[in-house]
Amino acid sequence: MRKKSTGRSLHSQRAGLAAATALLAGLSAPAPALAQDAARGKALYETHCLTCHYERIHKRDPSRSLVRTLPQLRVEVARRAELTKRRFSVEDLEDIAEYLNQSHYRFGLGPTGARELIYGGELMSAAEREAYRRDLAGAPDAAAEGQVRRQHRERLRQRAHQRGVELSEPAGTLRK
């Protein structure tokens, strides 16, 4: 009888501890773990990640990218977070990964349907833009497409330099 009651009290103590832990977790992370908050991730990303690298590292050719799956993206975010020497919570890391997946990688999300602004389009003629669109559409795979894009960017950077103007990165609009 007594033993049983002790057992029960121990059990209720444990339950209380679990509840307290859950409460603390809830306090330190307002967003539940499963509902990653991309907006929060964006803010974290812009504050802590862009101090060392630009957003264009996410636009690398898939063939040269370290990140080819969603798990790889999470691993890479955690690895980089460690380099900042700041402490990130699990929720922080998940939110950053969620933001990057939505904004760039789109694993399991399908295409955005968004159009891309042609890099340096303001320095090109209508015929040149049309030819560039044709080249991209005609690329047999992602690697060939990346090649077309890289060559295009390089050519337009040179053109901007010759004309004494500057293009913004990564969009490639004229800086005024």
């Binding site: 968004a114 042609i118 833009r129």
Partner: protein
């Protein structure tokens, strides 16, 4: 013959602005997401407005529309113009 030509011209002139306003603003608002990658809507309400007519708005929208891959179609430009005019420019 001549009155017929004049009448036809009259019909075309009357149809002109109507065709421009034929875009779907709701569709245009969705298409507009591509524009927001680079700028916010503040560019539509500058302190000193350069775009002063619906025709100028259409021209400017079409100019940028051709800087995209894929390029915006004529119908999509109409939709964008309808959205921009409804929410920002408000030309008659």
């Amino acid at each position: 013959m001549r009155p017929a030509v004049v009448a036809l011209a009259g019909v075309l002139l009357a149809a002109g602005p109507h065709v421009q306003a034929a875009g779907d603003a709701a569709k245009g608002e969705k298409l507009h997401a591509s524009c927001l990658q680079c700028h916010g809507t503040e560019v539509y309400v500058p302190p000193k407005r350069k775009v002063k007519t619906l025709a100028a708005l259409r021209k400017e929208t079409a100019r940028w529309g051709d800087h995209y891959n894929p390029a915006f179609s004529k119908a999509e430009i109409d939709d964008l113009v309808a959205y921009l005019n409804r929410d920002f420019y408000k030309f008659p």
